[in-house]
């Protein structure tokens, strides 16, 4: 039987009063993450400062039968860090330490709350870097990156978070502390548990420490941008570049509406009459980069690119990528609220998929704009709406579902990098057969028999139902509006 007030007393005794938040006004910032459609107030939020404190909190909450939601910086875009059943939020925001940077083994050990960019900055002078670079890297934690298996802009060549996490320490649902792999080893024996835990969205345990693989920070770049008259031409260019065997570091695409938004925010001189733009980067040995740029330019030209520019000047490059990374933020200029979708398709399918996305937008009477990791086939249709209007919300959810189902039908997936969270729960049966969904649930229950940790996220739960498509009211267990 849940005993919230006694749990709060014990949590306060364990962490100190400054590290336990119960005031409803102060808790409001934790009501949602970057997917603002899903909202729910936690009964309290706690801020442990070390793994042992996380473990102590979990034990107290288990004793009092309260549910737990781990949270990093709350930049997630799938409602994964939102509490729906009056549970307790465990924040990793004070686990920020960079414990060690070992250059010979090329490994950094960090606390789960260390921000992605903080690690990048701390090792900037070493010639090495932590490669995952989600656009949210300024705010997002490395624990959150691992929990969502985040991607980013240079994923195309350098891989996603799971490719760069060697091992981790985590607190399980019973409060025990386990370590998977590591000792700075690049491998272990037996099933790859770090891989299972990456992307598990806080449903199997709370990550407290990570062993991050560091790789060479490329020194030579060329950045190319090309303007097109249609999305299809730009998408065809992406598919053709991939098929040619060239592996750029990144290939990002913006559609016409997005070009206008970014240009009005950052004044980079983009042609606002263009209907699509590709921002492409290659890195590697300086002497061959110009050749690669030539080949890419030829492919772009053959697909109708009107204006192709390239640069190797670091300042210009920073401005271009800065604008790309802040593109989401700039959408506020044109819409009150927006929902960023996240699907991934085989790259050769991109032209057709973008067409279909626009058709779906029309059908549901929604404006959709696009800025996405085109080289990975990872689309991010951004659905513009007004959060205050229930009908807008409903149409956004329906259009999202239609887009994702279409992507699955052409060999794609319902999420390329943001995770399932609560937002895509109802599509897990579209993506996976029953036996596979049952296997996911078995794994969940084997780690967390009482389904206490972030239940009803990532995989449908047989304990709690969260229904977003037909919302039943804010902060209602079983509803999530």
């Amino acid at each position: 039987m849940a005993n919230l007030s006694q749990a709060i007393v014990e949590l306060t005794q364990t962490l100190g009063p400054d590290h336990v938040l119960t005031d409803a006004n102060e808790l409001r910032v934790y009501e949602c993450d970057g997917f603002t459609i899903a909202r729910g107030m936690p009964a309290a939020a706690v801020f442990p400062t070390c793994t042992e404190q996380v473990a102590a909190c979990v034990k107290i909450l288990a004793k009092h039968d309260l549910s737990i939601v781990p949270r990093g910086s709350g930049t997630g875009l799938a409602g994964g860090a939102v509490v729906f059943d009056q549970g307790i939020l465990i924040s990793t925001s004070l686990l920020t330490h960079i414990e060690s940077v070992d250059l010979e083994n090329r490994v950094a050990i960090v606390g789960a709350g260390c921000r992605n960019l903080a690690l990048t900055d701390a090792i900037a002078s070493t010639g090495l870097r932590f490669s995952p670079d989600p656009s949210s890297q300024r705010a997002a934690t490395i624990g959150g990156n691992a929990a969502t298996n985040a991607g980013g802009i240079n994923t195309l060549k350098h891989g996603i978070t799971t490719n760069h996490i060697l091992g981790m320490e985590m607190v399980l649902a019973d409060g025990s502390i386990v370590q998977t792999r590591t000792d700075n080893c690049y491998d272990g024996v037996g099933p790859d548990l770090p891989a299972l835990l990456c992307g598990s969205e806080g449903t199997l345990g709370i990550i407290t420490r990570l062993w991050c693989r560091l790789v060479a920070d490329p020194k030579h770049f060329r950045t190319v941008y090309a303007m097109f008259q249609s999305n299809a031409d730009a998408c065809k260019t992406v598919a053709d570049v991939i098929a040619s065997g060239i592996l750029p570091t990144s290939m990002e695409m913006m559609d016409g509406a997005m070009i206008k938004v970014v240009e009005s925010a950052f004044h980079l001189g983009f042609d606002t009459n263009a209907n699509a733009m590709l921002l492409i980067e290659v890195d590697g040995i300086d002497s061959v980069l110009d050749d690669e740029v030539d080949q890419i330019s030829k492919i772009a030209k053959s697909n109708g690119a009107a204006d192709i520019q390239h640069c190797s000047d670091p300042k210009e490059r920073m401005a271009l990528w800065g604008a790309r990374k802040k593109a989401f933020g700039a959408i506020g200029r044109i819409s009150h609220s927006y929902c960023t979708q996240d699907a991934c398709v085989p790259r050769s399918m991109l032209p057709g998929v973008l067409d279909e996305v626009m058709k779906i937008g029309k059908k549901f009477d929604l404006t959709i704009t696009n800025v996405f990791h085109a080289g990975d086939g990872n689309i991010h249709p951004i659905l513009l709406f007004d959060e205050e209007k229930p009908d807008d919300v409903r149409r956004v959810m329906l259009a999202s579902e239609a887009i994702l189902k279409y992507c699955v039908s052409v060999g794609g997936t319902i999420t390329g990098e943001h995770g399932v969270g609560v937002e895509k729960l109802h599509l897990m049966h579209v993506m996976f057969n029953n036996a596979t969904n049952q296997t996911f649930l078995k794994i969940k229950k084997s780690f967390d028999p009482d389904q206490r940790l972030n239940d009803a996220k990532l995989i449908p739960s047989d304990k709690m139902k969260i229904q977003l498509i037909e919302p039943v009211g804010a902060n209602t267990p079983g509803g999530a509006m």
Partner: protein, 382 residues
């Protein structure tokens, strides 16, 4: 006992269900690693998967293939399209074996290990159910990442029937440099230094030759780029003697590595050691001081293979290796133990093995798949 040849997933699912009903374990230990782990139970059904490429999505640089395909066949089929799958494994090994045993080689530096190449899996679970995870996209975070979890699972959690992998364009040229030294103490530092300069290698491979160490570094790329990288390496090889430099194509390089691995196939006692990369030098030096002649390592990833002559040498050296690993970190496994040797196949115990055992209990509750090979669950099948 006759080995059952499996030609389609339905046949495999039926076999699993049949074995389950009769409580007879199914055993597939693979070829190169057939002696790894505790011995299989006396009574069991051995089986082998057949297979070929199912679909090559050439424009997406991905391939869907049966797990029964051999690595030789896979790359032979991809070659005419100008693509390859960068797996360092002998031509006769199956893809299923490579995944189940997490087999990788020198190319891991550039292309990653099998966990980095895998995009999706279709496997049959211990109940005979079809499980499809991952897919054919290069990014996918829907559901738990069982695809990668199965890497290294030694055939104990499910029987991999089909896999989807990344492919890459065949590099225009391979540049190979052979360096030599008698002292490995500066090796870890040198590798990091090369990595952050234009000398950044695509592969590293260390081997013991008489009383010296030979370090092979390769670059994969356009000839002009390779020239730049080789020149950068030449400038940064203090303490190492430059003994040879060669240009060749990828096929020749893959064959060269395969030849270098031959002794591992015939060794009577083969140990694999996983340690932090920087500890490679210390452990290799120790093994050489103990008189071992055949030692090879992937120094950038801390993976070492060494051959011993007989049971008494293995039993004498094992505690020495374990003592080092207890200090430096890491694990050792006997890929092949000499006859009459009773060393623990895997040691020292790692902190996450109980969690892996729990997973085995969950996914194979009746202990049907390669029972007892690595994870001992207590459940028994006859």
């Amino acid at each position: 006992m006759n080995t059952t040849q499996i030609e389609n997933p339905q046949q495999l699912a039926d076999l699993v269900r049949d074995c389950r009903a009769k409580n007879i374990p199914l055993v597939d230990y693979g070829k190169a690693h057939g002696d790894l782990g505790h011995r299989p139970p006396q009574s069991h059904v051995p089986f082998e998967l057949q297979g070929d490429i199912l679909e090559h999505y050439q424009r997406d640089l991905t391939v869907r293939t049966s797990a029964g395909i051999t690595i030789g066949r896979l790359n032979e089929a991809l070659k005419p399209t100008g693509q390859f799958c960068p797996i360092n494994a002998d031509d006769d090994l199956t893809l299923g074996e490579v995944i189940a045993h997490n087999i990788y080689g020198p190319m891991r530096v550039r292309y990653g290990a099998i966990r980095d190449l895998l995009l999706g899996l279709h496997y049959i679970d211990s109940h005979g159910e079809d499980i499809h995870v991952g897919g054919r996209t290069v990014k996918n975070v829907a559901g738990y990442d069982i695809t990668r979890m199965m890497v290294g699972s030694l055939g104990e959690l499910g029987i991999i029937y089909e896999a989807t992998l990344r492919t890459y364009a065949i590099p225009a040229q391979v540049a190979r440099v052979e360096l030599e030294t008698t002292d490995l103490s500066t090796l870890a530092n040198a590798i990091t230094t090369w990595m952050i300069t234009e000398a950044n290698p695509a592969s590293t491979h260390l081997r013991r030759i008489s009383d010296r160490w030979q370090l092979e570094i390769c670059y994969f790329g356009q000839p002009t780029a390779n020239d730049v990288q080789v020149a950068a390496l030449r400038q940064a090889t203090t303490g190492l003697t430059w003994i040879d430099e060669k240009r060749c194509d990828l096929t020749e390089q893959l064959n060269h590595w395969q030849q270098l691995r031959q002794w591992q196939r015939t060794s009577l006692a083969l140990v694999k050691i996983i340690t932090p990369p920087a500890a490679t030098a210390q452990i290799c030096t120790l093994l050489a001081e103990q008189g071992l002649a055949q030692i090879t390592a992937l120094p950038s990833h801390g993976c070492i293979f060494a051959s011993m002559t007989d049971a008494s040498q293995a039993e004498q050296l094992d505690p020495v290796i374990l003592e080092q690993l207890n200090t430096l970190g890491g694990v050792r496994l006997w890929i092949r133990q000499p006859v009459d040797c009773t060393l623990a196949p895997f040691a020292p115990q790692q902190p996450d093995w109980p969690l892996a055992t729990q997973l085995k209990r969950t996914l194979d509750p009746d202990n049907l798949l390669n029972p007892g090979r690595f994870l001992t669950t207590g459940a028994s099948s006859s």
